[in-house]
Symmetry: C2
Subunit: 202 residues, 2 copies
């Protein structure tokens, strides 16, 4: 019924699955646009009712938190049509079929969106940003010792400007609530916590 | 061009808008399903190219972080069809036309999904969880001194069980990476930071 049977955790996965679980009777793509598909699943609810449920279907995404050797963060300023403003956030993009793994996807997206190359990559967190209406999975990848090595390689409709910024100022803006971008909020706050834990262990 | 002209912040809003901004030439609903619409905007890119862009269009959402008088957190265990698993997370739902404001929406959603009533509410953070493909805005609302007062009032296809849980254990699970739900990650991490700041000021 679920492909997640090999996972368990403190967030309810594998808890009392049978009481709440829906049975999937069928699944089709109901709509397609350049950015994503919408799937319609035919389902049976726990009380036996048969209905359908629609959700956004998109590839897994890597979100990169890239640091320069000086400790600055590499950000992208990007037009976000859905919210009608320029967004200052972390480089990110969908995993493609040719990407061998998440690190390869992160390396490619960092290069395409910023022109920077990193010395090393490390995945440090994974979330589902909107699992009420989308199957999106965002993998957060730390990129260390990033230096500019090439020009950006943008899709025709990506309006992106890479910038380097003082990391502490950006972190403070996240915590002050003046950064609306959810990826930046999760990337910075989870990195800050992991960093504190790491410092405590040393 | 943008309805966000009254805002500014450290995340790039209002920075060099004209260099990156797209011009919206028209907008229509391209698809509808029970959970959301997809809008298609006809746009002109900064280089003059005319194209279109599709994104999920949904109402603003409230996400509630509810505490009992004992300091436990009220959570919902809910089947999430998009990711095929039971999700343990924060009560949340879309703002409806009849909601006078965000607090009214939070009060209604908390009651419907958990049967709990709060003594007071306070909005403490706002993010766009996926502004690359959706105009979703999530408002985080702290609910204090919650007590159970009524039965839940669920939509026919909501498979939800309210639970109270030890807050420290849930927070630790968020920071350990075993909670995949993005709303829970943002709610807990931003609350933790605000709480630390508050303690420092006292």
């Amino acid at each position: 019924m679920s492909s997640n049977g090999d996972r368990d955790g403190d967030d309810g996965r594998d808890r009392d699955r049978d009481d709440l679980a829906w049975e999937t009777l069928g699944s089709d793509t109901d709509y397609s646009c350049p950015g994503f598909d919408v799937r319609r699943d035919d389902v049976r609810l726990p009380d036996g009712t048969e209905t359908d449920f629609h959700y956004v279907d998109e590839p897994q995404t890597v979100v990169i938190l890239p640091f320069t050797p000086d400790g600055d963060v590499v950000l992208v300023e990007e037009w976000r049509q859905a919210v009608g403003r320029v967004n200052r956030g972390l480089p990110a993009g969908g995993v493609e079929d040719d990407d061998a793994d998440l690190v390869a996807a992160a390396r490619r997206e960092l290069r395409e969106e910023t022109g920077f190359e990193a010395e090393s990559f490390e995945q440090f967190h994974t979330v589902e940003p909107a699992n009420g209406f989308a199957n999106s999975v965002h993998h957060y990848v730390l990129a260390r010792n990033c230096t500019r090595s090439t020009n950006t390689d943008l899709d025709f409709n990506e309006s992106i400007r890479p910038v380097t910024a003082d990391y502490d100022r950006f972190r403070d803006a996240v915590f002050a609530g003046s950064v609306r971008d959810g990826r930046a909020v999760i990337g910075v706050s989870m990195y800050e916590h992991a960093d504190r834990e790491h410092t405590r262990r040393d």
